[in-house]
Each structure stands twice: as structure tokens, then as C-alpha cells.
């Protein structure tokens, strides 16, 4: 939809952006940790099946694990080294997951292994989709949804617009911004691959107005033979969410419980697109990704290209944190998860590491006040749900009512309601719990019948 000449979506919030400290810093290569812990489940879907054994030497870029079925992707070695162990490791969700413990060779040149190239001119759509799955590409915006699954358009559905998501609406994060400035050619090559795989007619790159240099840079290098437009959107959270971006750019509303496909749109993150353009011509896989490391407690703030599986502890030691460090979380401050443990490793879905001191943490203190029905959350919710009512129901654990009458399952947990709530009610946190309970109940009922 349009608002005073600007394309945007309705509702949403304006958290402080706090991007200035890192948005001007180029992406730098990060050193290898003494041990890299590479989880086999860094994506949504089935965990990958390991192809290596304990004690085996691997080369950087070699495949460590293969996809288990269509809804899964491969995993590649982030460094040349020895597989020390395959066992359980802690993950950000709190669960232990199977991981490959890889010890890089200290003296290695860390040359990346070349694979079978997938040339954009000659490859068929199915070959490109298979190559993307083999390269282990998932949505790098944070959800880590396997990209090739999106590209495989089911029979009877059609897509007319490909949206490249360069919004990056989370406060603090600047990786997509840097990728747009530094990897323009990769992005356009990635778009060629995506166009060929899906035969879509037009491409829109959505960029928020706080990154004018990125939009300008992309426009300047626009290849004349590509049907691409760069669209600048006003700054608003959560514009980077698929459904909101589609609503902003195309004015189409993804139906409840539906997918972007239902409104003939397809959304791919800009960093994911750049990775496709970077990896496929060489037949390589993802072994590292760009991450913003920032926050008031971090000394060497910046954007880094970090090998997958780098443990959080090593990462924080390298950039240095002040003594006042109080809380570390992966992802942005709105949707990120607080780390309970520093042995968690960086995965494909990690877009940033933010460290807060006690001062910032205090601002989000736990004290909960009564709901005064001010309606701020109603104005914030981008999906037009009723967080006020849902919150009251969540308190009494009326999960079934929440799901059936108040569309709980439509909530994608952007946290806008919790951000604005003047009574500091942990709304989105409760909705997560409720969604988990509803899913569990559905699974149990299914198993019983």
C-alpha cells in the first residue's frame, strides 16, 4: 500500500535504529577458532546426514553432510582440518543437537575446494535448484528456511514477482547493508540464477530509506538486460518480514495460513542471493557468512565474515567485550535469542551477535504491570491481530481459544507488541509458548488418531 507517496505496510513500530556504528565498516574475514562446532541442523527441516567419520581429514569446502530428502540441505567444511568428534552440542534453542567438531589445521593455506560449476547460461531450472540445495543455501535473514524449497514452485501455482529483501529492519544489524555495497555483482548474478530457476518476469529489490548508499550503488550497477527495479521503503519494523514486504511493495496480502506463493510472489534475502551468485559458478557450498558483531559491550564492533561453527566464546574473545557485559544474543534485539551458554556456535541463521551491558538490559526489566487496554499493541501488530486479548488469554493458558478465535498461529513473533507495551507485558514471549503448546497438542492428536 501507499502512504503519502511512500510504499509501506500498515501498523508496525519504530525502534531506535542504532546502525551507524557498524554500517560504514567493510566486512572483514574472521580468524578460525581452535575448534569449530558445526551443527548438522542449521536449517529448518530434516538435519543433514553426516558423510565424514571421526578422525577423518577434510578440506575447506568439502561436503561434511548431505541433505536428507528434499526438505534439507548439505553442510560443508568451514575449514581444512580434522574431524575430532561427531556428537551432541548445545544450540541456541536450548536443545542439544548433533554437530561435527572440526579442528582446523594451524598451518593450512585454507584454500577453498572447487566443486562442479553450475553455469548460469546452460543450466536447466532443475539443475539450478539442485545446485542451490547442494550448496547448502538457506535464508540468511534469520529463518534459515531452505531456499531451494521456495524456488520449486508447485504445479498449478504461478509467481510473477521475485522480491529481493534488502530491508534489514532489525536494529543494530548492518550485514545486508554491507553485502549490498560490497557484493553487487554477486547479487545480480544470484538474481540471474533465481530468474532462470523460476522464470519470473520481474524483480524488485526492497531497501529501507536508512540505506540510501546501498540503493544508489545497486541502481548504478543495474545490468540493462535484467528486469530489476530498486524500491526504497520508509524505515519501519518489521518491514523485513516476508508478508510485510510483499504488502509494502505489491499491495498484496498473504492470506492467513498461506504462503507468498498464494499471492504470486517469492521473497529471497539479499545476502542469500549474493551467496547463490558467489557459490554456484564454483560449485562451492556455504562455509561462512557475514555477521554484525555489535552492542555497547563490544570493543571491536564491525561486520565480519565468520566461518560456520565458530563458538560464541571465541568470537567474543576476538572482538573483545567490556567488563560490563550482561547479556549476549544472536540475531537482532527484536527477534534475536538470548544466549544461555557461550559454547553455542554461529550457524547459517545467525545474522548478528549483540552484547548488552547491564544498563541496556535494565531498560527491559521484567516488572509486569496490568494491561490498561491502551491499544498500542493493536496499532503495532502488522498482522492486525489483537495482542491485548491474546495476552489476557495466554495468562490463563487458554491456548485453544487463542488459536481458534484469535488467529494465534498467524503471529510470526516480530515482537512489535512487546516493544510498545507500556505495561511491559511479555506478550510475544507468551505467544511463543502458546504456539508451542498448540503445535504439541496437534501433534499428539495426530499421533493418537
Amino acid at each position: 500500500m501507499r502512504l503519502m507517496g511512500w510504499k509501506t505496510f500498515r501498523h508496525g513500530v519504530h525502534p531506535p535504529e542504532l546502525k551507524d556504528e557498524t554500517s560504514g565498516l567493510p566486512i572483514r574475514q574472521f580468524p578460525f577458532a581452535p575448534v569449530l562446532i558445526v551443527p548438522l541442523s542449521q536449517h529448518l527441516g530434516k538435519p543433514a546426514l553426516p558423510l565424514v567419520q571421526e578422525g577423518q581429514e577434510v578440506l575447506r569446502g568439502q561436503r561434511l553432510a548431505k541433505a536428507d530428502g528434499f526438505f534439507s540441505v548439505s553442510m560443508h567444511a568451514p575449514a581444512s582440518g580434522v574431524v575430532r568428534r561427531i556428537g551432541l552440542a548445545p544450540s541456541i534453542s536450548g536443545r542439544m543437537t548433533t554437530a561435527v567438531f572440526l579442528e582446523p589445521f594451524p598451518g593450512s593455506t585454507q584454500e577453498v575446494l572447487e566443486g562442479t560449476p553450475c553455469p548460469v547460461d546452460t543450466a536447466t531450472p532443475d539443475e539450478i535448484i539442485a545446485a542451490i540445495q547442494d550448496a547448502g543455501v538457506v535464508g540468511l535473514g534469520g529463518a534459515a528456511f531452505p531456499t531451494h524449497v521456495k524456488l520449486k514452485i508447485p504445479e498449478g501455482k504461478s509467481v510473477d514477482t521475485l522480491i529481493i529483501n534488502g530491508v534489514e529492519c532489525e536494529p543494530y544489524l548492518t550485514t545486508d547493508h554491507r553485502v549490498m555495497l560490497e557484493q553487487r555483482e554477486d547479487i545480480y548474478l544470484g538474481i540471474r540464477y533465481l530468474l532462470k530457476a523460476t522464470s519470473v518476469e520481474r524483480v524488485i529489490i526492497g531497501v529501507e530509506a536508512n540505506k540510501p548508499d546501498a540503493a544508489r550503488h545497486l541502481r548504478e550497477g543495474l545490468p540493462t538486460d535484467l528486469p530489476v527495479t530498486v524500491s526504497v521503503l520508509p524505515v519501519k519494523y518489521p518491514q523485513g518480514a516476508e508478508k510485510m514486504l510483499i504488502s509494502a511493495l505489491l499491495g498484496r496480502e498473504v492470506p492467513s495460513g498461506g504462503l507468498p506463493l498464494d499471492v504470486h510472489a517469492l521473497c529471497v534475502n539479499v545476502a542469500t542471493t549474493a551467496e547463490i551468485g558467489r557459490l554456484l559458478p564454483h560449485g562451492r557450498g556455504i562455509q561462512e557468512r557475514a555477521i554484525t558483531i555489535t552492542g555497547p559491550a563490544v570493543r571491536e564492533k564491525g561486520n565480519y565474515r565468520i566461518p560456520m561453527g565458530t563458538p560464541l566464546r571465541f568470537l567474543l574473545e576476538q572482538v573483545g567485550v567490556t567488563d560490563e557485559v550482561h547479556r549476549v544474543f544472536l540475531g537482532g534485539p527484536m527477534m534475536g535469542h538470548a544466549a544461555s551458554n557461550l559454547d553455542i556456535s554461529i550457524t547459517k541463521g545467525t545474522s548478528g551477535v549483540v552484547a548488552f551491558t547491564g544498563v541496556e538490559s535494565d531498560r527491559t526489566h521484567d516488572r509486569e504491570y496490568p494491561c490498561i487496554r491502551c491499544g498500542y499493541c493493536l496499532d503495532a501488530c502488522p498482522l492486525f491481530l489483537d495482542p491485548c486479548k491474546l495476552g489476557a488469554l495466554a495468562r490463563n493458558e487458554e491456548h485453544a481459544v487463542m488459536a481458534e478465535e484469535f488467529h494465534l498461529m498467524d503471529c510470526f513473533e516480530c515482537g512489535a507488541c512487546s516493544f510498545v507495551c507500556p505495561s511491559h507485558i511479555p506478550l510475544v514471549q507468551r505467544f511463543r509458548v502458546a504456539k508451542g503448546a498448540v503445535r504439541k497438542k496437534a501433534a499428539l492428536e495426530k499421533a493418537a488418531s
Binding site: 531498560r363 526489566h365 521484567d366 504491570y369 491502551c374 498500542y376
Partner: protein, 394 residues
């Protein structure tokens, strides 16, 4: 007024030393809410969030409540001056600024103090018994109530009113956020119906002694007048539109000045605390109600039926009710469309009660209380119509 932690470390330490007495097993265990309230009034407590959303909007419930109190300041100051001014005027004395303020404060401050004291005691008692926290909401209620009372109200009635408003209007429903009616208006309604002689009539609006010549409120004048010449009748009493807008008329302590309410409205709308939808629609409703009355008025009907619509906005509690009372988020409608409907109906109803029932010239209070009851229903229908519209589109 939150204190900076560094500056007050010593004070904080002293309080911390007292903490064990207030915690479970301590001497004053039962009074923990009181101790805890000190902490939240003075300091930001050192708790931390653990889940998602690691940043928060700076607008929290305390700032919300304090913004309302700040927005009330123009009404308080004007009211203080006007109470003194009306008194001196009625006594035939000169009316210098400071003397007016002094006389006004003499009548007004005890009422505000009693309101806060009694309201606070009720709040604290309930917090202790129910083991919940003391909420800043009573700072607003305790200030709103005195402002809608006449300056001559006996203090024991103030105490009874605010106690009724806090307990029956709010606490019996489960405390802040759970009340159906606006607690300050509930308090006023209680006093109005229990002690009508002290809340209505001509004699109560001026703080001057019984011998002085006291003026009736413009609404009473309009209700008593007959036929279309109502503005002339008001003029005969020395009441002009300009005076009514500025607030140079007798009336409840804080609500005489539409101008002061307008300044308050700007503060509330500017900070996003007050709902402009309710204010605008209530004004529209008041005007619509006024036109309706004019159209249905006969030559012999009461003067208030003939009162031009724009007069309704500046007389009595209409402006005050629009800005501070109807916008109370707890008791108002929450959806956008709901707010518009709620405000409009409140405005129409206020004028209707005023004009049709001359016994209650102050219809705004009753209109808002009445619509408070219907607010959840309005919200329900708005939500249902949204659901229907979206279903039809699929």
C-alpha cells in the same frame, strides 16, 4: 522524577538494608507492596528481561500516567485561579492575580490532599491484601476527581467519594486495567447522587460565604431560561462565549476552562497518550447533539434546547470530559473505529442528557459512564465486522 542510580547510591543502600524486613519472613512482610512501590517510584529496579525483544519503547505505564498528570497542570492552575477569582468577585472584592491564586489554593489544595490521601490508603490496603503492586493509576484518579468537584464540597464527602471510586469503581473488579467504569467519574457520580445538595444547584459553585451574591452555572441558567433567547439570557447573567471558553465562569474546580483543556489535549495528543479519535469524535457528537436539540426545540421549550451547538462544547464538563475522562484507555473502546463510535455517541448522549433532563445539567459524566459500559460491546462489533469483511474478501 526517577532518580539517577549513581547520585543516590547512599539512599539506595539505606533502602536495601531495610529490604530483609519486608521480604518473606521479615517483620513487615505484609507491607512489601509499600516497600516495592518506593522502589519503583524512586528507582528503576535492576531486573532484566530474559526472553525475546531485548529493546523496549521508552513509553511505559509510569510515563503514560505522569504525562496525564502533566497535561492536567493547565487545568489545575487555571482552576486554582478561577476558584479564588469567583470567590472574590462574588464578595465584591478586587481580584489581583496572587490573591485569586491564594484563595483558590486555600479551597482546592485540601480537597486534592484528601483525595490523594484517602485514595492512596485504599490503593495500598488493596495492594497489601491482594499482594500485588501499587499502581501509579491512582495518581491520575486522585487528581481527576477533585477537579470535577465544586470548591465547596466538604472534605468528608471528598474522602467518601474517592474511596467509593477507588474501591467500587476499580478494586472490586480486580484493580488497574480491569475496571469497567472510569474510577474518577464513579466517585463523582456517587457524590452527585448521594449528596445532591452539595453537588448541584446554584449555591455550591462559588467558595464565597453564604451572604455573598453567587452566580449560577451557565448550564443552570440555560436550563432555567425559556425559548430561543437563551444566549441573551446568559448574557444577562454576564456570561459570554469568550468567558466560557477561557473559563471565567463558576463551575467545578478544574473544568471551567476549555482553553486549559485544549492545552492539555495538545500535550496528550502530541505525546500519543490521549486518543485523538475519541476527542475529535466526541466534539463532533456534541455538535451533532446540539443541532439535533435545536431542530427539535419548540418555541416554549427550555432554553438549553435552543443553545447553539458550539456553546455546549465550552460549558460544564464537556471539554474536560472529552480530553481527560472519555480518553481513559481502560474504560474506553480500544479499536480505531470503536473509538470513533464511542466518542461520537458519548458526545451526543452528553448533550441529550443535558437538554432533555434539566435535573441533570451535567450530562457529560453520565454520558461517559454510560458509554464506558458499552465500550466492550462496541469493540466486539468492530472486531466482528472486520472478521466478516476479511472473510468476504477471501
Amino acid at each position: 522524577m526517577r532518580l539517577d542510580f549513581e547520585e543516590t547510591r547512599d539512599l539506595w543502600k539505606k533502602f536495601e538494608a531495610l529490604r530483609p524486613h519486608f521480604q518473606k519472613g521479615g517483620k513487615f512482610e505484609k507491607l512489601y507492596p509499600l516497600f516495592e512501590a518506593k522502589e519503583t517510584f524512586l528507582f528503576v529496579p535492576p531486573h532484566t528481561a530474559k526472553g525475546r525483544v531485548h529493546v523496549r519503547d521508552a513509553m511505559d505505564i509510569k510515563r503514560l500516567m505522569s504525562t496525564v498528570v502533566v497535561a492536567l497542570i493547565p487545568c489545575i492552575l487555571w482552576g486554582m485561579w478561577n476558584v479564588g477569582y469567583q470567590k472574590l468577585l462574588a464578595q465584591g472584592d478586587p481580584t489581583p492575580l496572587l490573591a485569586c491564586l491564594g484563595h483558590g489554593a486555600w479551597h482546592m489544595l485540601p480537597i486534592i490532599l484528601v483525595s490523594y490521601l484517602v485514595g492512596g490508603i485504599c490503593e495500598v490496603t488493596f495492594a497489601i491484601v491482594r499482594k500485588h503492586e501499587i499502581n501509579e493509576g491512582f495518581l491520575v484518579t486522585g487528581m481527576l476527581f477533585p477537579l470535577v468537584c465544586p470548591p465547596t464540597l466538604p472534605l468528608w464527602m471528598v474522602a467518601g467519594g474517592i474511596a467509593f471510586g477507588t474501591i467500587i469503581g476499580k478494586e472490586v473488579f480486580g484493580g488497574t486495567g480491569m475496571n469497567i467504569l472510569n474510577p474518577a467519574l464513579t466517585a463523582r457520580a456517587f457524590v452527585f447522587f448521594a449528596y445532591p445538595a452539595h453537588m448541584s444547584g446554584d449555591a455550591v459553585w462559588s467558595a464565597a460565604g453564604p451572604d455573598a451574591v453567587t452566580g449560577a452555572t451557565p448550564l443552570a441558567v440555560a436550563a432555567a431560561a425559556h425559548g430561543p433567547g437563551v444566549v441573551t439570557a446568559l448574557g444577562a447573567q454576564g456570561i459570554t462565549y469568550r468567558d466560557s471558553f477561557l473559563g471565567l465562569i463558576p463551575g467545578s474546580m478544574g473544568e471551567v476552562s476549555a482553553l486549559a483543556c485544549l492545552i492539555g489535549a495538545l500535550i496528550l495528543v502530541g505525546t500519543g497518550v490521549g486518543a485523538w479519535r475519541i476527542m475529535i469524535s466526541m466534539i463532533a457528537g456534541g455538535l451533532a447533539g446540539g443541532f439535533l436539540m435545536n431542530a427539535s426545540a419548540g418555541a416554549t421549550s427550555a432554553g438549553i434546547m435552543h443553545l447553539p451547538p458550539h456553546w455546549h462544547l465550552v460549558l460544564g464538563g464537556f471539554a474536560f470530559g472529552t480530553v481527560y475522562m472519555a480518553t481513559d484507555p481502560v474504560s474506553a473502546a480500544a479499536t480505531h473505529t470503536g473509538k470513533l463510535i464511542y466518542g461520537f455517541l458519548t458526545g451526543v448522549l452528553a448533550v441529550l442528557i443535558r437538554a432533555v433532563n434539566p435535573a441533570y445539567p451535567e450530562g457529560v459524566m453520565l454520558a461517559i459512564l454510560f458509554m464506558n459500559v458499552f465500550a466492550p460491546l462496541i469493540d466486539h462489533f468492530v472486531v466482528q465486522s472486520n472478521v466478516k469483511r476479511r472473510l468476504a474478501r477471501v
